[in-house]
C-alpha cells in the first residue's frame, strides 16, 4: 500500500524537448492513464520510472526512493511491461521459474485467468502469436509481485475478449494489493474505464486531469 511519487523528474538528456520536469503522485490503488501522440516520450517516461534510463529527480514508492535500493530490486518492485515483450529461450517455461511456479496458486490462477493451461510452459516461443506473448508477458511481470505497475499499451495486440481478461486481471491485482498503476494507451475509452487521473503529454509539456468515473468499472 504505497503511493508512487515523482518529484522534479527530468529526462531532458534523452528527450531535449521535455524541459519541463515531471511532478505527480499516483495514490496507492489508483491508476493514472498516459496519453499523447506517438513518439512524444510516453515510453521513455515509463523507462525512467523503472530506472532503465538516466534521469534527474526523485522517484519514490511509499517511503523507498529508487536510488536507495539496487536497480534490480527497484525494477522488481516498480515493474515495467513494455509494449513489445522479448523472449530469449526456446520454450515459454524457461522464462519462468517453472518448477517453483507450478506449485504456486498465484501462478496457476494467472495462467487460467488469462486463458491458458499450465502446459503453455512447454510451448515454443517461436509459435506464439503477438497476443499470446502479451498475455504471457503480463503473467511473467506479475510473478514478481510488483508494488507498482507501469504498463505500456498492454492490450495493443489483443482482441476484445482477451483485452477484457487482461484488464480484469490487472484491476484485480491493483485492487487486492492496493498498488499504483500507470497505463499508456491510445484508447480513450479504455483509459476512462481503468484510470482515475490522466497525464496528457504534448510537445514539451504535460497536463494532468481527473477522469470522471464511468459506471461499473471494468466491464
Amino acid at each position: 500500500m504505497s503511493d508512487l511519487t515523482v518529484k522534479n523528474l527530468n529526462i531532458s538528456s534523452i528527450l531535449p524537448d521535455f524541459s519541463q520536469p515531471f511532478d505527480f503522485l499516483v495514490p496507492a490503488g489508483n491508476c493514472m492513464g498516459i496519453t499523447g501522440p506517438s513518439g512524444i516520450g510516453k515510453s521513455v517516461l515509463l523507462k525512467a520510472l523503472a530506472d532503465m534510463i538516466p534521469h534527474e529527480g526523485k522517484i519514490t514508492l511509499g517511503d523507498i526512493e529508487s536510488r536507495s535500493i539496487s536497480a534490480p530490486q527497484w525494477r522488481k518492485r516498480v515493474a515495467l511491461l513494455p509494449a513489445e515483450s522479448q523472449w530469449w529461450c526456446e520454450t515459454v517455461g524457461e522464462h519462468f521459474y517453472k518448477d517453483q511456479h507450478i506449485k504456486d496458486d498465484w501462478f496457476v490462477f494467472l495462467i487460467n485467468k488469462l486463458g491458458f493451461k499450465v502446459d503453455v510452459m512447454d510451448w515454443q516461443v517461436a509459435h506464439l502469436s503477438s497476443g499470446e506473448k502479451q498475455r504471457l508477458a503480463c503473467i511473467r511481470v506479475l510473478m514478481n509481485k510488483p508494488g507498482a505497475l507501469l504498463l505500456d499499451e498492454p492490450t495493443a495486440n489483443l482482441d476484445k475478449e482477451n483485452r477484457i481478461l487482461l484488464e480484469a486481471v490487472i484491476a484485480d491485482y491493483q485492487e487486492q494489493h492496493q498498488i499504483p498503476v500507470l497505463w499508456i494507451s491510445h484508447d480513450r475509452e479504455q483509459l476512462e474505464r481503468v484510470s482515475q487521473q490522466l497525464l496528457s503529454l504534448n510537445k514539451g509539456k504535460y497536463e494532468m486531469s481527473q477522469i470522471e468515473q464511468s459506471t461499473g468499472g471494468v466491464s
Binding site: I14, M52, P54, P72, R75, Q86, W88, N144
Partner: protein, 266 residues
C-alpha cells in the same frame, strides 16, 4: 640453409597480385585491403629484420623495452581496428592494451625467467620472438572475442533490456553472451593445437626445422609455445570480455551502448 634471393620473393608476390586482380574482377571488395596488408607486411618485416640485427648485437635492455612497448601499443590499437561495432577509441585501446599487457607480458616474463631462462633473462633472441608470438595470437583472440561480445550485445539490446526490466542482475543477463565471446576467441588456438602435427606443421617449428634444428628439439619448443599462447589468449580474452561487459552497464545497471561507436537510440 638455402638462402632466398629477392627474385624468389618477387615470384611469390606475383601470386598476391594475381589474387588481387581476380577478386577485383569478381567484385569481392577485398583487393585493396589485401594489397595494403601485403605492402605493410613487406615493410614491417624488413624493418624488424634490421632492428633485430641491431638489437641482437647490442643486448640493450632499454632498446628492448622500447620495442616491446611499441609492439604492445600497436597491438592494442589493432585489436579495435576491424570490429563491426567497435568500442569508443580511447576505451577500446585502454581495455585492449591492458588485457594484452596483463596476459602476454606475464606469460613472456614467466617463460623467460622460469622456463627457458637464457642469460641475460631478457636475451633479445628469445624475448622478442616469444613476446611477438604471444602478442600476435592473444591479439587475435581478444579481437574476435570483443567483436562477438559487442555484436551480440548490440543485436540483443531489446532482450537485455527486457531481462533488466524483470529485475535480473546484469551478471545473469550477460553471462551467456560473455561465455560465447570467450569461446569464439578461443576457437582458433584450440583448433590449431588440435590439428598440429596431423594437418598442419606449426610455423615456428617449420622455421626451426628449415634452419637446421633437430625435429624433436623444434617440437619441444612448439609445445611450449602452444601452451603459452593458449593460456595467454584465454586469460587475455577473459580479462577483456569481463572489463567490457562491466562497462556496458552503468552504476544503475542500465545498458550503456554509448560505449560503442554506433548511433544511440532509445
Amino acid at each position: 640453409m638455402i638462402h632466398l634471393t629477392p627474385w624468389d620473393l618477387v615470384i611469390a608476390s606475383g601470386l598476391i597480385i594475381l589474387l588481387a586482380i581476380t577478386s577485383l574482377l569478381l567484385q569481392l571488395n577485398i583487393s585493396r585491403q589485401l594489397i595494403i596488408a601485403a605492402i605493410r607486411n613487406v615493410i614491417q618485416l624488413l624493418l624488424i629484420g634490421y632492428i633485430l640485427k641491431l638489437i641482437f648485437n647490442s643486448n640493450n635492455l632499454l632498446l628492448l623495452g622500447t620495442i616491446a612497448l611499441v609492439m604492445l601499443l600497436v597491438a592494442g590499437f589493432e585489436i579495435n581496428a576491424r570490429q563491426k561495432y567497435p568500442l569508443k577509441r580511447w576505451i577500446g585501446f585502454k581495455i585492449g592494451a591492458s588485457a594484452l599487457f596483463l596476459s602476454s607480458f606475464t606469460m613472456a616474463f614467466l617463460t623467460l625467467v622460469v622456463i627457458v631462462a637464457p642469460t641475460p633473462w631478457y636475451s633479445p633472441q628469445y624475448s622478442i620472438p616469444l613476446l611477438g608470438m604471444l602478442l600476435g595470437n592473444t591479439m587475435n583472440g581478444i579481437s574476435l572475442g570483443m567483436d562477438k561480445l559487442n555484436q551480440s550485445v548490440y543485436q540483443q539490446k531489446l532482450i537485455i533490456e527486457q531481462r533488466l526490466m524483470l529485475g535480473q542482475d546484469y551478471h545473469e543477463v550477460i553471462k551467456e553472451i560473455r561465455s560465447e565471446s570467450v569461446r569464439t576467441g578461443m576457437i582458433p588456438i584450440i583448433n590449431s593445437m588440435a590439428i598440429a602435427g596431423l594437418v598442419s606443421l606449426p610455423g615456428m617449428m617449420t622455421g626451426q626445422i628449415l634452419s637446421g634444428t633437430p625435429p624433436v628439439e623444434a617440437v619441444k619448443y612448439q609445445i611450449l609455445i602452444f601452451f603459452l599462447i593458449a593460456s595467454g589468449t584465454g586469460f587475455g580474452i577473459m580479462l577483456a570480455v569481463w572489463m567490457i561487459a562491466k562497462r556496458l552497464f552503468d552504476d544503475r545497471q542500465r545498458l550503456n551502448l554509448e560505449l560503442l561507436r554506433v548511433k544511440r537510440s532509445y
